[in-house]
Symmetry: C2
Subunit: 195 residues, 2 copies
DNA sequence: CAGCTGACAGATTTCAATATCTGTCAGCTG
DNA sequence: CAGCTGACAGATATTGAAATCTGTCAGCTG
């Protein structure tokens, strides 16, 4: 829990809200709980976030952004685009699977939060498809990928691999055939992209 | 509603259960309701179905099988495998989208039912991937598709197109970009299959 | 006076009493 | 006597009263 004597900042509220969500779950985590954990009145929390929904959405955005940032490194590298695409898809799958497997309750909590939020998820998907677009553009430039519209192709690749990053499939990720299915799907997608 | 004077048969119970589910929804449709609609005591329903869950699962299976049967025709045709694959994927997408769009409440009801059932959905998926496998095998035989393991490739195609047949994406099917996204995804998949 | 508090109204959630449902079975009926 | 009925026990769902929460704001405090 963060120290209670510093000035109250949006950042500290977000950290504490994450903590309260982890402890109480999405259904029982109240603004009053967050305020109590921070040692302030709940009115002070409303000074930084207009509504409870806005607070939850901000927490959700932070959580999603952590995944995007981890993958941004692969996009920025200067390597064979096909290898980067494979690593990027693998990185996304592993990150999601790890989150879902390591702490299923927390993952379920964020599933509820993303379901509530209208902005956070589309923004996250835009982030990710923008990254994919850059990799595919690099592949087209290098002559290894064929695409007359990298943005649309990136969407197609993102949709095609949904089974291995969309949270609604999280239960399947633990099954033994998941690895082979992932490999087969990536192979199909990469073949479809080749010039 | 079916006539009440005929002998009580599993088939009549299933029809009436569908009717009751359509009218009352999954949460409020009880075995007593079904028995009342049939003009019998609920004990008689339990003579044909051991539990309420078994009754619901049987209704779910019937519903899913109707989709499989509609697509089986395309598999059996004697045409260019690539064209059949395109038609099959289009047929699956259209069938699901129509079900979801025409009667959203009934679709939501069946989403609940499939969520309850442990057998029906995997069986349905096995049905569909078996159909896909036959089309891909035909393509390999004809030399238009490349695959060293049509069954695994069929799974990959099924997974790749999940966004356009998996009910968890039903809300997206009504959006204007769905058509273009579907076309782009089918193109990617077909390119990935070409010999 | 910028930032925090705490009382407040209306909305939401909890909880326990009450009603309904599931699944069984002894016995009725045609 | 094959098939159906309806009463029953335990499980589940509904209901409404009480408790809690959300969001506001007038006023306190450093």
């Amino acid at each position: 829990m963060p120290p209670t004597s510093e000035t109250l900042t949006a950042e500290r509220i977000l950290e504490t809200t994450e903590e309260v969500l982890r402890r109480h779950g999405p259904a029982k985590a109240t603004v009053v709980d967050v305020a109590r954990a921070l040692g302030v009145s709940h009115g002070s929390v409303y000074r930084h976030f207009r509504t409870k929904a806005a607070l939850r959405e901000a927490v959700t955005k932070r959580w999603l952004d952590r995944t995007s940032e981890a993958l941004a490194g692969i996009v920025a590298e200067d390597r064979d685009p096909e290898a980067r695409l494979r690593d990027w898809l693998r990185g996304l799958f592993d990150a999601k699977r790890r989150k879902a497997g390591d702490d299923p309750e927390l993952f379920a909590t964020y599933m509820v939060l993303t379901g509530e939020s209208n902005e956070a998820v589309p923004e996250h998907i835009d982030d990710l498809t923008a990254q994919l677009t850059r990799i595919i553009e690099a592949g087209v430039a290098a002559g290894t990928f064929a695409s007359d519209d990298p943005q649309s192709t990136a969407r197609a690749v993102f949709h095609a691999t949904g089974r291995f990053h969309d949270p609604c499939y999280a239960p399947e990720w633990a099954q033994p055939e998941a690895e082979a299915d992932f490999a087969a799907l990536v192979e199909l997608v990469v073949l479809g992209l080749r010039a």
